[in-house]
């Protein structure tokens, strides 16, 4: 393989790998779906802020919550990471290899709807894909934060299962909603 081919291969590989991210192929099939003309402004995104506190009401200090799993109406809405923030210099104490701050640290989670699915191979797969897409018409709904993962100072996974419920309202002709602030306690 000459240098040019090697460079092109590396570039292509980088683009694909960076494009994959942590999404695990979720949501990619929506690009082929033509949505019903009666419901084109489908509700697509929920947003909220999140903090994680210990029993002394001290705030988790990490650059990012790596994984927040959400359910809406009992169906999977997707798995998301929070937006990265710079929390350098905010550590007040380390307890059990987890950094905490006395000052409040909130994490922003932007959660566009992602339908988890593997490859679509059969006509039945496509039918189930269309059927499992969540359609939220105007009204009140419940969002569940079913589990949260982040890394401690030793780069080990800390996995919480808070099962917190937050209500939100889908207003007609809107495609997103702000859920407010969610606080999770490490027990």
């Amino acid at each position: 393989m000459n240098n040019k081919n090697l460079f092109l291969s590396c570039l292509l590989l980088f683009l694909i790998v960076s494009g994959c991210g942590n999404s695990n192929d979720i949501g990619q099939f929506d690009s082929a779906v033509i949505e019903s003309s009666t419901n084109q402004n489908k509700f697509k995104q929920i947003t909220f802020t999140l903090d994680v506190v210990n029993n002394q009401n001290e705030y988790l200090n990490t650059s990012q919550i790596d994984s927040v799993r959400l359910k809406v109406n009992g169906k999977s809405w997707g798995v998301f990471s929070s937006e990265s923030i710079d929390t350098t210099g905010n550590t007040s104490k380390i307890d059990g290899d987890i950094k905490f701050s006395y000052s409040k640290i909130s994490y922003l989670v932007i959660a566009p709807y992602l339908l988890s699915t593997d490859e679509l191979q059969t006509a039945g797969d496509f039918v189930r894909y269309l059927g499992n897409r969540i359609v939220l018409t105007p009204g009140d709904y419940i969002c569940e934060v079913s589990d949260v993962k982040f890394r401690n100072s030793k780069n080990e996974w800390i996995w919480l299962k808070p099962h917190i419920y937050q209500n939100f309202t889908v207003v007609e002709n809107t495609t997103s909603s702000y859920l407010g602030h969610i606080s999770i306690t490490i027990k």
Binding site: S9, L12, L13, I16, C20, Q28, F29, S31, A32, V33, I34, E35, S36, S37, T38, N39, E119, L120, Q121, T122, A123, G124, F126, V127, Y129, L130, G131, R133, V135
Partner: protein, 132 residues
């Protein structure tokens, strides 16, 4: 004279009746989903087939010029899957063969292998890189 005309009519009748014709239809066995704009080899089979329904048979003559197809031919079936008003275009991975003087019902079922070229393009690129 009458005799010649009669013979000519018989010859014409025999010649036309010898032209082979094939019939093709599609059955939708997908629960709850409608399949729309169904076509095989460029021949429109049906604009809409409800779950469990079989389309009317389309007759293709041996020397079919209208549809630009010559039998025997193997072609995939192309259609839209419609559920709750949402549409997705797919075509079968397999080709279905129609012979001269054939009568064929193609069944689209839950297990029928299909693909959408838009999705196939991105997944095949990923698979290619996975295998490298």
């Amino acid at each position: 004279m009458k005799k010649y005309i009669s013979i000519l009519c018989v010859v014409v009748f025999v010649l036309t009746s010898c032209e082979k014709e094939s019939e093709i239809r599609v059955q939708n066995m997908l629960p709850k989903a409608i399949i729309k704009n169904v076509e095989w080899g460029g021949i429109p089979i049906s604009s809409q087939i409800l779950p469990g329904q079989t389309s009317e048979a389309i007759t293709i003559y041996e020397n079919e010029s209208y549809y630009d197809i010559k039998l025997p031919a193997s072609k995939p079936v192309k259609f839209y899957i419609s559920l709750n008003g949402d549409l997705v275009y797919v075509q079968t991975k397999a080709s279905f063969r129609l012979n001269e003087d054939d009568d064929r019902t193609i069944v689209i079922a839950d297990t029928t292998q299909v693909f959408n070229p838009l999705l196939e393009k991105s997944s095949s690129l990923k698979n290619l890189l996975k295998n490298e």
